[in-house]
Symmetry: C2
Subunit: 383 residues, 2 copies
């Protein structure tokens, strides 16, 4: 991607509230998101790319556990919440948007999907032979927060991964739960987030046991994951039943497992930045390589930059080239701010046949001939 044809508007300053977090300032300055209204954000292309990379890590680890992806709707009839007996929590413990459609039927925008997944599964699964089953989605959720804050952390519209396991008994649930727990450890490790796991209050979700994943960082909130052994309350109330080996009807034993995907964008940054900007881990980086020609108008610089750009694309390296007609100082500032892991600078050393390769995470780069620089980069990227 050429910066001149991209839409990556960086900001010298970003105004945030006093109690807001460093990651929100960086997310705004690095042209990742813009606020539309309180707690409602547009992901600009650079932010969307980071979000999609996080999604992909989660998807790969979910699939590796044998969980299967589906997609439930945001709109839910509140009648289902009457069945589960959670209707009374709406607007209080569960701060959802509720309204009536043109036929005067009450709908809500799903803040969570236990009721919907139960409706799907109870219609299709009626035998122990179809179990265990874990389904998940990566989907937009809504909450009518009293006070949205911390940018993507406590917002009114956000992306979540929610998974639901269905087992024949408690031992089955324990296995499904442990698989998810292990997957969560792998996910947060790949995203280079420091975190701890603590026993937690199951709150409005119900059930008997839950654990919470809390990220390190300045944000007092950043719960990034929460996993629950729900047991049978939803199945009993909503008649989620199957026939066991002996032909007896029994309720599904259920677990649920959430990850705040949008929140992870903040958490990754809180764990990976310095005074000058973001330092993306490769797993999340919107681009792996930034090519920075200091003066793209200079024919020799342009030729070298274009050749390296084409070679990186050839090797399928996600590459951004800063071909903008800007001052060198501004380009270097934006390079540090946007935090792309590797940078190739093409400047005055080109006359001596050298260009610079620099890691964002290290203070100094190395000078190399253009012909060797990509090989060195491929080694770093294990390509």
């Amino acid at each position: 991607m050429r910066w001149s044809q991209y839409f990556l508007p960086t900001l010298k300053e970003a105004s945030i509230e006093n109690d807001d977090t460093p990651s929100l300032r960086l997310i705004l300055q690095a042209g990742m998101v813009r606020q539309l209204s309180s707690g409602i954000y547009t992901y600009l292309p650079f932010g969307l790319a980071a979000l999609r990379n996080i999604e992909q890590v989660i998807r790969e680890e979910m699939n590796a556990t044998g969980a299967v992806e589906l997609l439930m709707p945001a709109l839910q009839p509140t009648s289902l919440w009457k069945e589960s007996d959670r209707y009374k929590l709406l607007g209080k413990d569960i701060v959802s948007f509720m309204f009536k459609d043109r036929h005067d039927r009450e709908l809500l925008l799903g803040p969570t999907h236990e009721e919907v997944i139960m409706e799907v599964v109870r219609r299709e699964v009626n035998s122990y032979k179809q179990l265990p089953l874990t389904l998940y989605q990566i989907q937009t959720k809504f909450r009518d927060e009293m006070r949205p804050r911390f940018g993507l952390v406590r917002s009114r519209e956000f992306l979540m991964k929610d998974a639901y396991s269905f087992d024949v008994d408690e031992e089955g649930l324990e296995l499904s739960y442990q698989k998810m727990l292990a997957a969560y450890h792998r996910i947060f490790k790949r995203l280079e987030i420091k975190y701890k796991v603590t026993g937690a209050d199951s709150g409005a979700m119900g059930g008997k046991f839950s654990e919470e994943f809390v990220a390190e960082g300045a944000c007092p909130e950043l719960e990034i994951g929460h996993i629950f052994k729900l047991g049978t309350p939803y199945s009993e109330k909503m008649k989620g039943l199957f026939l066991d080996k002996t032909g007896q009807q029994r309720p599904f034993v259920m677990g649920c497992y959430g990850i705040g995907v949008s929140r992870l964008v903040s958490a990754v940054i809180e764990n990976n930045y310095d005074q000058s900007g973001i330092i993306w881990p490769i797993s999340v980086a919107p681009f792996h390589l930034l090519i920075l020609p200091i003066n793209y108008d200079d024919p020799a610089v342009k030729e070298a930059a274009d050749r390296l750009y084409a070679a990186a694309q050839e090797k399928k390296i996600p590459v951004l080239m800063d071909d903008r007609a800007r001052q060198a100082g501004e380009k270097f500032k934006d390079a540090d701010l946007t935090g792309i892991p590797f940078r190739i600078t093409i400047g005055k050393n080109l006359k001596e046949g050298k260009v610079e390769l620099k890691k964002r995470s290290e203070p100094k780069g190395e000078l190399l001939p253009p012909d060797q620089i990509l090989e060195t980069l491929f080694k770093y990227l294990s390509i």
Copy 2:
């Protein structure tokens, strides 16, 4: 993927309304979607896979035009619609869900995003140097339809691709529009949909010129795409202004370009089915290959099936193996219904060292030794 570990519940029959379309019946029977409420659907894994493949075709063709992807929120403050003077159309020509948040501020669930994209662009773009610019998203839209029908075609929650172009003048708009028009032709061709393009009423979108893409098929509705030359009305009303080469302030000249992504699932099927079920084009097929061992309990059959399954996975062919303990007749019925383009059947011919390779689109298959069958398949798939 092994069918026994997947979630693909097929149905012998599906009840649909009299005036509904063949594609809706097939979508339900082939375990692709389930209705949660009127006009509100869950995508089961098989349907989601088709949807994602359609998304990917659209994304590739959008990116090839130089358009850049972002993601806008579903929640929109109605104040923006007062600026554009479309507030008065809400609930009438534009059937949206509107409600108030806990602070009594009015929100709507976006049925379209001209106002939001204008709010994003007017804050970031102020010079002709930043133009032309085309931004797009693939995002969930909402409409409070009077009478939802035809399954995914006229639903209340659906996926759309909406793109917005910003140019300095009418000639620029013409270029951007023609690029999109060409991309639309490529998209529908790749999806193997027959369609026609007609001049259309611009309706609530405004502007002076639009063209509509209408798919062939039984559905009286299936408009699958609509592209508009909007001109300057939104820019003038919402103060979307930039400085031209001479330093004069001028309004962006705008175009907008929609594709009904969920609708395309129906349109692809309407254009690709027979009496027994779906016949997926490769570009959309949730899996390219179905391996069908007639009796997976037979050790020789199991060994051959497992070996072919592993070999297909090795070659990154999206493969489903029907390892269910079902009658052969039921498996063949489901194979035709779900419409995976290639099928390898492992049955009684295995004793003579032969398995069958069959295209879903052709009545007869060919018998080949297991060692040669994948090579033949790779040729068909151009791998």
